[in-house]
């Protein structure tokens, strides 16, 4: 109990990591529901890997003295730029190929995952300095998040959440029934582009802040779990975020209490919730017979 009060105290040393986890836990499932409903779960694995490659590439450029923004020499700004650029280019190329129905979706995503993973390792190995720092960033620095990062994250994730809630009907309709959306005058391509932009930004910023594993976990697992226990799209969205933020809170407490790494603790907890929900559903089904 004492530790719980410590975590909730405004002077808590790791408060930024705690708040960042809560933001990720609350907002990521709202994007994740579209991964699940559009059956793009594999993309949720590949894109964080692409974002990783972008970070490693930007670090490599920074180390050899080439800066994207000449007046800003912070490697983190550079890394974020690399992450955003790589992720957005990839998601738009994949979306165009998907629309033109070139080849199989699984093949494209598998290829993307393989090449991004290999490229990230190569970029790190070519980097003569700061290998440890790059690796730490690629794994996600959920413990040491500076104030500026937390505020930027709150602003960007907050804006994305507002857009997703405000235009929820349009995003759902163009995902579910393109023909119907076109018939009632919705600009399907524009809504798709906006959704892909949101996905790109959420993943890029999230991977930089909490790492690819945590982002992947919070994007997909709360939505998959909520899909098993809810009726109705509104309830599905609400329950996804509730699972996300609650797990993030409990995961942080457990990792602090037992001195465990926070990201993996969160993801394992999310998986346990999913397994528990599934087992309860199975038991209830057998009991009802």
């Amino acid at each position: 109990m004492e530790q719980l009060l410590q975590i909730l105290s405004p002077d808590f040393l790791l408060r930024n990591a705690f708040y960042a986890g809560l933001i990720v836990g609350f907002v990521c499932p709202q994007v994740g529901i579209f991964f699940v409903l559009r059956r793009m779960v594999l993309l949720g694995i590949a894109l964080p890997q692409v974002s990783n490659a972008g970070i490693a590439f930007a670090f490599l450029l920074h180390t050899i003295g080439w800066h994207i923004f000449h007046h800003i020499e912070s490697e983190k700004v550079m890394a974020l730029t690399g992450s955003v650029v790589f992720t957005l280019i990839t998601i738009f190329v994949l979306a165009i190929l998907e629309r033109r129905r070139k080849g199989f979706t699984e093949n494209r995503i598998g290829f993307t995952y393989a090449i991004a993973g290999a490229a990230a390792i190569l970029f790190v190995s070519w980097n003569p300095y700061g290998k440890a720092e790059v690796l730490s960033m690629l794994q996600g620095e959920i413990i040491s998040i500076p104030d500026i990062y937390l505020w930027s994250m709150l602003a960007i994730y907050g804006m994305i959440f507002i857009i997703l809630v405000g235009f929820h009907r349009n995003f759902v309709l163009v995902s579910y029934d393109i023909d119907m959306a076109t018939t009632i005058g919705k600009h399907v391509v524009l809504w798709d582009i906006l959704l892909y932009l949101i996905i790109g930004v959420i993943i890029s910023l999230g991977v930089m802040t909490v790492g690819p594993l945590v982002i992947f976990g919070f994007l997909l697992i709360p939505a998959i779990t909520a899909r098993m226990i809810t009726r109705g799209i509104l309830l599905f969205c609400v329950v996804s975020s509730v699972i996300g933020i609650t797990t993030s809170f409990i995961g942080f407490y457990l990792s602090y209490h037992f001195d465990l790494p926070t990201g993996p603790t969160d993801v394992v907890l999310l998986c346990l919730v999913l397994i528990l929900v599934y087992l309860v559903k199975v038991v209830l089904r057998i009991w009802k017979r």
Binding site: V36, L37, R39, V165, G166, F167, R169, N170, V172, L173, Y176, D177, D179, M180, T182, T183, I184, G185, K186, R227, T230, R231, G232, I233, L234, L235, F236
Partner: protein
């Protein structure tokens, strides 16, 4: 029935990416007519439908909508193309029909909820509004999709294979429902089917896609053409 042309197709070719699959399509739909678009599987019925709905642009030719107004379309797609992973209730599916007039950042207005209830009532599915859409039977799903199309407040209702894959009793009920809606709401209706026995005897017009040609015909003519096609060729 009004005699105004609601939709007119003049020398239209339809297809994808500039490659036509059907050419020289010429017909018109009059306001209040019940028209059936008939043809075998894969002949281009759905493509023609989507072209009329402006989902796909025509490869060539003109489609003229109305004389002094653009008709509002209510579209009933083939239900098997809708992914069942979406956890919608029946009511939420019908509510989609009102999305065209809803403002972003606003909750669903009571008038819209009342209208959705009315549409559910019109198709006899009000009691099922809280049910999972994916758990409904084929016939019930079809009724919900018809209610969703009605919720758009259409002048023209287009139904793509509405009775395919449902049992005979449900087929009869759906045809009765469509006929009732046609009369009650004075709707112009265009229905696609690939089975000749799905065509009600009282329809105003049948558009038949036969050997890559679009022709107008009576039910008797369509039946005789179908029988000719069934005769096995020698050699």
């Amino acid at each position: 029935m009004n005699t105004d042309n609601c939709i007119t197709l003049k020398d239209v070719s339809i297809g994808y990416n500039g490659s036509p699959i059907l050419n020289d399509i010429n017909f018109s739909l009059k306001t209040g007519e019940f028209v059936v678009l008939f043809g075998p599987n894969g002949c281009g019925k759905t493509t023609l439908f989507k072209t009329i709905l402006r989902i796909i642009p025509p490869v060539q030719g003109d489609i003229i909508y109305g004389n002094d107004y653009t008709p509002r379309f209510g579209y009933v797609p083939q239900r098997q193309f809708l992914d069942e992973i979406y956890p919608f209730t029946a009511e939420e599916v019908v509510l989609m029909g009102t999305f065209g007039e809803m403002k972003p950042f606003h909750p669903t207005a009571k008038t819209n909820r009342d209208w959705v209830e009315q549409c559910l009532k019109d198709v006899g599915m009000l009691d099922m509004k809280k049910e999972f859409f994916s758990e409904l039977s084929g016939g019930q799903k079809q009724r919900i999709l018809i209610a969703r199309a009605l919720a758009t407040r259409p002048n023209v209702l287009l139904l793509d294979e509405p009775i395919t894959g449902v049992d005979v009793i449900a087929q009869k009920k759906i045809i009765e429902l469509i006929s009732e809606l046609h009369k009650k709401h004075q709707l112009t209706i265009m229905m696609v089917t690939h089975e000749v026995h799905h065509i009600p005897s009282w329809v105003n017009k049948i558009i038949h896609i036969h050997h890559y040609k679009v022709v107008l015909g009576s039910l008797e003519e369509i039946i005789s053409l179908s029988r000719i096609d069934e005769i096995p060729t020698q050699g």
